[in-house]
Symmetry: C2
Subunit: 230 residues, 2 copies
DNA sequence: GCAGATATTTTGATTACTCAAAATAGTATC
DNA sequence: GATACTATTTTGAGTAATCAAAATATCTGC
């Protein structure tokens, strides 16, 4: 049984690997996201390699093996189902469930997990719009434009918000930009590095390009299926 | 912040202390309930004493301090609220929630805990009939007779089942003897060490005196209040 | 192709928890 | 009151995860 530390390393490695699928993850990067000193990352990665969970190339970096990826996806499935459960069933705010799920993801039994999945009707995405891996360990990451590179003036919908920071999510809330919200992108100012959007029935909201890049969108009409086939 | 190991020691000490409130807990006993060797219990207890959570008298035993008891009660509150939540809201069976709660009790945030408490309407007892300590750290343990020493032939109700073993709880289920169930005690045979009871609308069920002692009862008419005042 | 900057690995220690087994204290027996 | 039995404590060691800091490798610029 993988320790919670191991589960966290694998999860973080998976998330990093998503960002740059082609190359392996540097020790320095891993150390930063895990909040440890580089030496710790090195020795931990060696242990993971001994367990067959990662491929480790000294001075180059680390990549998940298939086994490591399966485990990582299972942790992420637990995390995201728990997040949705906390919002839908328990009634917590989507801005606060991430930290809670960070703990719960390590202790939920398979029995409870599948019960939650069933209760929620086998959902496809969590409250942030992040896809929920299946029990079998597959995820479908949809390619979606963000506020930065979508069409201007079109009817869009927030599909996913790729930042888990409490403060950022509260900002999104206040601007009416949570997943499912209708909006249009009004203007982009390349030199000032700004994007202005307006959510349905709201004041226009301006933000930096880097903030804008965290909102992924889909066309407003085409509401994506929210449930997995039973 | 107390580690999960410390929380477990305190919880177990509390439960033992409740059994024999007058005397202190022997190291051997603590070692058994914690599933460790006696030496481990000794060194752990010394650490707890250094933190002011227990009074430790070498070669005699250990008792919780007020601080230790408060912490223990908080853990037990989390455990029992989680159990009830898993039964009522998630729909798990009462025979399986104990093991699940054993993990969850250490990672639930105060925020989530109070939300669950609210959602359940500030309940007084968990699915086994065990009382739920208040947020302030007080519990009311009611003195109740068991199948072994209650009146024969009277209309009774199962109020509490003091065994968390999955198998035992399933047996209770099958005999219709879960908390809330109406029943009467038909007969006791001192020599054969047996007790026979009949739950409402069921076949009579015979069990040993030691099994019978695990069912605590209250008069059937007087249904105890189930909710705490808001 | 060498010097310096930067990233990585190694080494040695630390903390929390655990066990095995030896030492010790307390209790009971005769 | 010496002997034996039992419970407890001590000692020494191990594991998982971590840090600080020294050693080493790799890249970059000239």
């Amino acid at each position: 049984m993988a320790s919670r530390t191991i589960e966290n390393y694998l999860k973080q490695l998976y998330l990093e690997q998503r960002e740059t699928p082609e190359d392996s993850i540097a020790m320095g990067r891993l150390a930063v996201v895990m909040g440890v000193v580089p030496g710790t990352a090195t020795s931990m990665v060696k242990a993971l390699a001994d367990s067959g969970l990662v491929h480790y190339e000294p001075r180059t970096g680390v990549r998940l093996t298939t086994a490591g990826q399966q485990l990582a996806l299972h942790v992420i499935r637990r995390h995201r189902l728990v997040e949705l459960f906390l919002v839908k069933t328990v009634g917590l705010d989507w801005s606060e469930v991430h930290v809670e799920a960070e703990e719960l993801e390590h202790v939920i039994s398979d029995r409870l997990l599948e019960r939650i999945d069933e209760l929620l009707g086998h959902p496809l995405v969590d409250p942030h719009g992040d896809p929920i891996p299946s029990a079998g360990g597959t995820v479908r990451e949809l390619e979606m434009p963000s506020f930065v590179n979508c069409a201007l003036g079109q009817a869009l919908m927030v599909a996913r918000v790729v930042d888990q920071e409490r403060g950022f999510l509260q900002f999104a809330n206040q601007s009416g930009l949570m997943p499912g919200a209708k909006l249009e992108v009004l203007e982009r100012n390349v030199n000032a590095d700004l994007v202005t959007v307006r959510a349905a029935g709201r004041e226009a909201q301006t933000m930096s390009t880097s903030a804008a890049a965290k909102f992924l969108v889909s066309p407003a009409g085409k509401s994506r299926a929210k449930k997995r086939k039973g």
